[in-house]
Symmetry: C2
Subunit: 114 residues, 2 copies
Amino acid sequence: MQIDTFQTLADPSRRRIVEALCNGERQVGDIVERAGIHQSGVSRHLRILHETGFVSVRPEGQRRFYSLRPEPFRELDDWLAKYRGLWEARLDRFGAALEKQRKHRRPAHKDQRK
Amino acid sequence: MQIDTFQTLADPSRRRIVEALCNGERQVGDIVERAGIHQSGVSRHLRILHETGFVSVRPEGQRRFYSLRPEPFRELDDWLAKYRGLWEARLDRFGAALEKQRKHRRPAHKDQRK
DNA sequence: GACTAATATGCATATACATGCATATATATA
DNA sequence: TATATATATGCATGTATATGCATATTAGTC
């Protein structure tokens, strides 16, 4: 279920943990330094992230290496697809793909009219 | 700030409201039917969605028509871009755009290995 | 076995927040 | 003005959950 994907990402500490993992697997102690909360909290968040499919674990002796799994992100992407029309409506699909490609190549669309 | 975009979407009632708006503007009473909660709750959720930039309002007499704004969805898309590598790593960027195009044309990728 | 290091968990607490009810506000209509 | 309709808000309540502390657990080292 994609149901609680948003719920999981709603917590800022959890997002920081996810971000800490975006460049590959890390052990818990490593994550604690970046999470800004107590080790016990990180451990609990990692449990939640594991239960919701965001991370997988690779035990190695006393350490546990956590890494991101693609599924929930893909789910998020699928959910979002429903709303892509909101900002790509005027483009046909091929054009939209090209537009997206341009955007990803140069991330120069930070400041949009708010 | 994209900070509380996830927080906003974490609530299922709010997601139902967003979904109810995905085909264009609706007045509150219309939304209430689909939200599964009391009108007062819908009203409050709409306030939150407005504060976080998800919706805009168009008053018309005693009614208020709400509709989706693209910005938060775009923010979500930008956030997600950081993690696209998780499931598109093996493709170069042009290939990724094509792949994405294929996926959007035929949404036939529901059942993936879990 | 004693000791240390890495990670997880029970407990207590504080806080956030979603909800319904009753009511307020605003607009239309008679 | 009186009344009805549409939407918003104050209040009270229940529930979820993030956090730290202390401790348990597991594994490595002497």
